[in-house]
Chain length 187, copies 2
């Protein structure tokens, strides 16, 4: 599950420190914007950070159409790539410093379900569920109070970071005629 070639050239130097939520979300949003403009996928991107070093560990962008794979969402790819890099299925394994996921838009039902299994201890979201639904994407059947449910598992959730900027990319994608690959008419 390779990322598009433009990403490696696009990312800042690996030693770059991302001081806080705003910097981390800015990267996720810029990757989502580039994924739309370079036409490699849907208007979603995610990044995982080591919260001790503040460095980037992995990124993901939506590649559903490019890879012909409905599982290839930004969050699942970022999780898989961080785990491959660290050689473990558990980013909270004893001995590792805590990891955090920044995602340009609130996770869909699948990615939400993937978060507790991944070991990330903090999730930072840009656009809200309703911003995503407003442009025609389906978020799936998320349990009511999903953020509180993650928090009950010890996973901190921060919402609305650069929300307006993140939501703008969703609209840009649709205005460009992007594929709403998850929309299926419910009978």
């Amino acid at each position: 599950m390779r990322l598009p070639d433009w990403i490696e050239a696009f990312l800042p130097h690996p030693a770059t420190a991302y001081a806080g939520d705003d910097d981390r979300m800015a990267l996720a949003i810029e990757l989502a914007r580039q994924n739309v403009r370079r036409e490699t996928g849907g208007p979603f991107a995610a990044a995982i950070f080591d919260t001790t070093t503040r460095r980037l560990v992995s990124v993901g962008v939506n590649l559903v159409a490019l890879h012909g794979c409905s599982v290839a969402h930004a969050e699942t790819l970022a999780i898989m790539l961080a785990q491959r890099r660290l050689g473990t299925h558990d980013l909270a394994r004893p001995g590792l410093s805590p990891h955090e996921l920044a995602t340009s838009a609130a996770p869909c039902a699948m990615c939400l379900g993937a978060i507790p299994w991944s070991g990330v201890r903090r999730v930072v979201c840009g656009a809200r569920d309703e911003d995503i639904r407003a442009v025609g994407f389906d978020e799936g059947d998320k349990p009511p109070g999903w953020a509180k449910k993650l928090q009950a598992r010890g996973i901190t959730v921060i919402e609305d970071v650069r929300r307006a900027e993140a939501a703008e990319i969703l609209r840009e994608y649709v205005l460009r005629g992007g594929l709403l690959y998850n929309s299926r008419t419910i009978p």
Copy 2:
């Protein structure tokens, strides 16, 4: 995301027809049993069938620990491999015959969220959520009435097919000292 080598040799001839739910679940359960006994992963397997030809399209087994990847559940792998084989992210694309997922145990929150995006039109489950939780695995925060919610999306759900046999494999795994990779103490 390669499947273990034993699977190819283990599967019946590709022209084999799987007449109904019982045959399809029998295959999923046998793959789960083999995955436990050959120690390649957790006690879960899934298979996708073309409901017109009744042939097997793909299989998946739990490979979380083997691949160091928390997304590598049986259902997500079966979905990804079926989509790769058919060259599309949507197994319900016009022109394809309907596809069905048989899973040895009810899907966790992540795999449940993955099902509507996959295009499968029917889901057949062996062990229930409570059978899985009884041995110590976490199913995640599934929305209440999840089967009805899939059905509202036009996805038929059949439960309790060979349930006792499927649940027995979960117990066998735990008795053998298998890793409960999703269990994290909730603070």
